[in-house]
């Protein structure tokens, strides 16, 4: 009996130690690809990064040199359109959830749908926008009937809505009730008190949410393949096909030319630098307290 008991205790201690080792191992395995990706990206990308990359458009295939200026400008245009659509609608939805719909079945349904929409594959979003804008000739829809920067921006903008909406809601719920009461007690109209007091108090958090959504769609390729389509030349018109950084990286990555591979790496490095910057900024803001000063 005593020996048996001893064995059991030893077995339990061994399992405990084994699981600890496994968990540490898992953590290491998870961190490794991250280090590998960043290391490889910097190793391959930094050497191809020069002024020409930012100033020039791509050279014809097979010629060396050239840059991605058209893709950088194009991404800027697309993200501008996306933000103009995604940010106001997302914030509006968040305000509804936090200020008007609290506790109602309707708000729960909206919240649930937003979370589900967040999981819809981006390629499907591209198909839907293709079908809605690119392939239809309708007077009701601007820039319809062909590939355009506008359709790409709409696809990205729609993808921003769920993230912006849910973070806005969460941040608004963190605003203390006392602050809302103070605003109401002053006789401010509801719209004024929501916009100038509640939303303003939560604004650092809301901006954080917008930046997260922004960083996410900035790297999206799939919804742009058959909406923005790509464009080898500089373009800023919403009515024309437009290049985007991730789209250009894809095209160059699968091309057979070494020079284009180098540009793809440089592009990926720029993209990731932007995203890491956004995520770090977000983390810095949130760690300082989203509602600094709010009691």
């Amino acid at each position: 009996m005593a020996g048996n008991e001893n064995l059991r205790t030893r077995w339990r201690a061994w399992t405990d130690a084994g699981v600890t080792v496994l968990a540490i191992l898992a953590t290491l395995i998870v961190v490794t690809p991250l280090a590998a990706i960043f290391g490889y990206l910097i190793y391959k990308g930094a050497s191809s990064l020069n002024l020409a990359f930012f100033m020039q458009i791509p050279r014809p295939e097979g010629e060396s040199g050239g840059g991605m200026a058209n893709a950088i400008v194009g991404s800027g245009v697309l993200l501008l359109v996306a933000s103009l659509i995604g940010v106001p609608i997302g914030i509006g939805g968040g305000v509804f959830l936090a200020e008007f719909g609290r506790g109602t079945k309707l708000a729960n349904a909206v919240r649930f749908t937003a979370d589900v929409l967040n999981g819809v594959p981006s390629i499907v979003m591209g198909l839907a926008i293709y079908s809605l804008i690119v392939s239809t000739h309708s007077g009701l829809i601007p820039f319809s009937g062909h590939f355009s920067a506008f359709s790409g921006g709409v696809a990205l903008g729609i993808m921003m809505i769920p993230t912006v909406c849910r973070t806005t809601e969460e941040m608004l719920l963190m605003v203390p009730h006392a602050v809302r009461e103070a605003a109401l007690g002053l006789g401010l109209p509801n719209w004024r008190s929501v916009l100038s007091i509640t939303v303003k108090t939560a604004s650092p958090g809301i901006i954080t949410g917008c930046m997260l959504a922004f960083a996410r769609v900035a790297g999206e390729t799939a919804p742009l393949i058959f909406t923005a389509f790509g464009n080898a030349f500089m373009n800023t018109s919403l009515n024309q096909p437009i290049e985007a950084l991730p789209l250009q990286i894809w095209v160059f990555a699968i091309s057979p030319y070494d020079d284009q591979h180098r540009l793809a790496w440089a592009g990926a490095l720029v993209l990731i630098a932007l995203i890491v910057l956004a995520v770090s900024l977000v983390r810095y803001v949130t760690s300082r307290g989203v509602l600094k000063g709010a009691s």
Partner: protein, 336 residues
């Protein structure tokens, strides 16, 4: 000066002149409600457009599109996808999506849950922040960058070292026949997918594990349990529904992931038992063929694949969401 002492002051007169802004308030409320409702609208719009645009395939092939195959008139082998000659069947794409997604879960679930256990129960406090930040970063890397890395770093690694090793060790199972010299294929797709869904699984698992009340842990520890027994009985048992939710959410992401998979899976509409063979997936075929579709029927078939992907991810995400809500908020129907 300022608010007067006699009679109504200028301030009071001014405020009395302001209306009660009932109309502005109502308009504001409607506008915000409209924004919220637009989310329903978007989901509806996606479904409607995809259905309209895939009408042609639906009327020609019906449900058989998702399970039937054709016979090659020349060599009498089974054949699935030949856009030029008008043969369309989604079977190889469904197969590729399922194989690569489940392969990725097989790799990512133990690692993700292990990482979550390490972060919540074992990790020194000083390491917790940086590690959480690193996983957050892993989630923020765009698909295209994963794909680029996988194409130029992961695939050569698989081709030179991992695939030959797997063939020599496990070749007898038939799952690892190394007759593919490229290094691309289901395994490459599954590995890159697993790296991409790891952060989702581990961060959600962490969330539900933290939601388990401290008293549950203490109750088990008080019985003289070791740390692993405490984690197993006190934490994992209470959080298991949420962890399943996290895994399903990861699956949802894996099913629809496009760019990285497209770049490494091989893009061949064939069905092979070997994981080292070239294949393709639903999302990959859309990304690859849509802008160069040879006919309206081809385009419509791709949109129908997209519609199927949409419906499947909606169902998968809804299930996952419900499971996570059950754990973190008591009941899904309750507001916080």
């Amino acid at each position: 000066m300022g608010p007067g002492k006699e009679g109504p002051s200028p301030v009071r007169v001014f405020l009395l002149s302001r209306g009660n802004s009932a109309i502005a308030d109502r308009a504001f409320r409607w506008l915000m409600t409209l924004c919220a409702f637009s989310i329903f609208g978007i989901v509806g719009l996606i479904a409607w457009r995809l259905m309209v645009s895939s009408q042609m395939t639906w009327s020609q092939f019906g449900l058989g599109f998702f399970y039937k195959s054709f016979v090659d008139p020349v060599n009498h082998q089974p054949m699935y996808w030949d856009p030029v000659n008008g043969y369309f069947s989604a079977v190889p794409f469904i197969y590729g999506t399922l194989v690569s997604s489940f392969l990725s879960l097989l790799i990512a679930v133990p690692l993700g849950v292990g990482l979550a256990i390490f972060l919540t129960e074992m990790c020194p406090r000083a390491l917790r922040g940086p590690l959480a930040f690193l996983t957050e970063l892993l989630a923020a890397i765009p698909s295209i960058v994963y794909g680029l890395w996988a194409m130029y770093a992961l695939v050569p690694l698989l081709r030179e070292y991992v695939n030959p090793l797997l063939t020599s060790l496990l070749g007898w199972t038939g799952l690892f026949n190394n007759d593919n010299p490229t290094g691309l294929g289901f395994l490459a797709g599954g590995v890159i997918l697993s790296i991409m869904i790891l952060p989702i699984i581990s961060s959600l698992t962490r969330e539900v594990m933290t939601a388990v009340p401290h008293s549950q842990r203490e109750a088990v520890l008080a019985l003289g349990a070791t740390r692993w027994e405490m984690i197993r009985m006190g934490v994992l048992r209470n959080a298991r529904i949420g962890i399943v939710g996290a895994i399903i959410l990861g699956l949802g992401r894996a099913l629809g992931e496009t760019m990285a998979v497209t770049m490494v899976i091989g893009n061949t509409p064939e069905i092979h038992k070997s994981l080292l063979a070239n294949g393709t997936s639903m999302a990959a075929v859309i990304a690859n063929e849509f802008s160069e579709a040879v006919s309206d029927l081809h385009r419509s078939a791709l949109i129908e694949i997209g519609l199927a992907l949409f419906l499947v991810t909606i169902v998968v995400n809804a299930c996952a969401q419900l499971l996570v809500w059950v754990v973190t908020r008591g009941a899904p129907a309750q507001a916080r």
